[in-house]
Amino acid sequence: MLTLLFDGIAYGMLLFVLSLGLAVTMGLMNFINLAHGAFAMAGGYVLVVLMQRHGWPFLACLPAAFVVTALLGAAFERTLYRPMYKRPHLDQVLFSIGLTFMAVAAVDYVMGSQQVNVQTPEFLRGRIELGSGDWTLGMGRYRLFIVVVCVALALGLQAILAYTRFGSRLRAAVDDPRVAAGLGIPVDRVFLLTFAFGSGLAGLGGALGVDVLGLDPSFPFKFMVYFLIVCAVGGTSSITGPLVAALVLGLADVFGKYYLPKLGGFIVYVLMIAILLWRPQGLFSRGAHK
């Protein structure tokens, strides 16, 4: 019971890190980026390549995954994404689906279509057991590690958003890009940085998730729905919204698969439709100003 709860939380936190970048870009640029999963996949493959072919230690690979995907994101933002901001949502959807198709086929070509695995380091294997009987809390060390990293990230991001100059610029640009630009905030640069950072987070999430979610070239399509659910349900105007949504999604998925394995992903989708019917703008939006 508690173990399930913990697994659900770990899964939810992972989803949170994976989709946060998408939530921010969606809220900031009003851009529906279905290719977000491709960045997560890129992060995962960076980790795999560095660890298996170059023998880097696991902990060094995580920041590397972040940096590589962030650079990738920045390059794409500059060259491909920027002209698409002002386009209708349909164009954005098709554009990013096209990108995802390309990414999937390209990774398939370079890395092969089979699922890849990584060896997690020694100190992250095994479990910690607390309590006894019905209330046993078994925590996989790796999952505990994920939770710790993700909580630290969430707190850090919240602090950046709330207390730094960049954070207040970002919030201003999200609320009203035109006024923000008029006040002398370099909105373009804020966009670029945010996009790069969001992609980097996705890459980090993908790298962390290799062991939990599995990694193969169809990753972007498999998890695209989950990222989008987090953003649609959580709303895109804060960090708390996606966080709560990701946790709910993670818990619902883990519990659903455990208690009603026959229904599989069914519960998650029905839950999403129900929430979206109840609150079409997401659970935590500040009204429909867009």
């Binding site: 949502h89 954005q92 098709l94 729905v225 649609a232 026959k262 979206l276 019917l277 703008q281």
Partner: protein, 338 residues
């Protein structure tokens, strides 16, 4: 009512209706090239009987794209889950043929009715919220159906697909042959009827009001029209046509599998429609032909990686813009058609 008429300028009253009528009816006239194209399409199964299967596939994809065109092109609803109706029609027709009666036409009606029912049921979900919400809800419906079809394996065949469907002869006379000749003619006829229907609808007041509300929802509701009612109507119609396309696929291939509900089917049909041009009656047809031909060409070169080139094509199409991509002579002019 009377008072407003009296105050209106007198001179404009009798002239306007007469002058406006041909102007308003002009877009709904059949053009010569439309007759020519349909004639060409009608003779293809007889000229190329060896490509029956391909023609059949194209006709089905065209019908599917036409149904999406109603929803996306005319009503402006971004849907990533159109495969839900397609799949429901396919499974419905397949199960009907297997358990109730093998007549194709009755099965087709069953597919249409099922699609329409699901469309009517889900239409309240798509009239609310933003583009993102609609995207998610449409996709969610398709995913729920996919999971259901996957889980109730004893009924739908699960991942193995529903096999052993034997269709009866069409109209009691024409057996479905292996070369797909009867199948291709059957699908083309259904496509033609659906095309006539859609053509009639989009030029009716309903169709015109749909385009209006795609462009400005607020104004349409200010004119006193029921936005939600009209959206629901067109969504149901689109769903019914998608159900018909699904039923055609199941009947002509004698097979229905989870593939009919898969996400890639929704993405494919949208790609086809976008290549052909949304919001244009012929968009679905042209797009379906272009998509299938592209698919065949590319997969004859690289079987496994053809999605890469389709992706590249989509990205280019969106970045450059459809108008410009198909008019190479505007590439090097600045500020051309954009």
């Amino acid at each position: 009512m009377k008072a407003t008429q009296d105050t209106a300028p007198k001179a404009a009253q009798p002239v306007a209706p007469k002058a406006a009528q041909p102007l308003l009816l002009a877009p709904s006239k059949w053009r010569p090239w439309e007759f020519a194209l349909w004639l060409t399409i009608a003779v293809t199964p007889f000229v190329f009987p060896q490509h029956g299967a391909l023609i059949n596939e194209i006709a089905i994809l065209a019908l599917f794209a036409l149904s999406l065109d109603m929803i996306l092109g005319y009503a402006g609803i971004v849907s990533l889950g159109h495969a839900a109706f397609f799949g429901l029609g396919a499974y419905g027709a397949a199960l009907f043929a297997k358990h109730v009666m093998p007549d194709p036409l009755v099965g087709l009606v069953v597919g249409i009715v099922l699609g329409a029912l699901l469309g009517a049921l889900t239409s309240p979900m798509i009239v609310r919220g933003t583009d993102l919400t609609r995207l998610m809800v449409t996709m969610g419906v398709a995913l729920v159906l996919y999971e259901l079809a996957n889980q109730f394996g004893e009924f739908t065949g699960g991942a193995d697909g529903l096999q052993g469907i034997v269709m009866g002869p069409l109209l009691g006379r024409f057996e479905f042959d292996l070369g797909g000749r009867v199948a291709s003619i059957y699908s083309l006829v259904v496509l033609f009827i659906a095309f006539l229907l859609v053509r009639r609808v989009v030029h009716s007041p309903l169709g015109v009001s749909l385009e209006a509300l795609r462009d400005n929802r607020l104004r349409v509701s200010a004119l006193g029209m029921s936005v939600n009612g009209r959206l629901a109507a067109v969504y149901t119609l689109g769903a019914a046509l998608a159900g018909a396309a699904g039923a055609l696929l199941a009947q002509t291939t004698g097979f229905a599998s989870l593939d009919v509900l898969d996400f890639h089917r929704s993405a494919d049909v949208m790609t086809a429609l976008i290549i052909g041009g949304a919001g244009w009656l012929w968009g679905g047809l042209v797009g379906a032909i272009a998509f299938k031909v592209l698919h065949d060409l590319i997969s004859s070169v690289t079987t496994q990686y053809w999605t890469f080139w389709i992706g590249l094509f989509l990205v280019l199409l969106m970045l450059v813009g459809r108008e410009r991509l198909f008019r190479p002579w505007t590439w090097f002019k600045r500020g051309g058609a954009k």
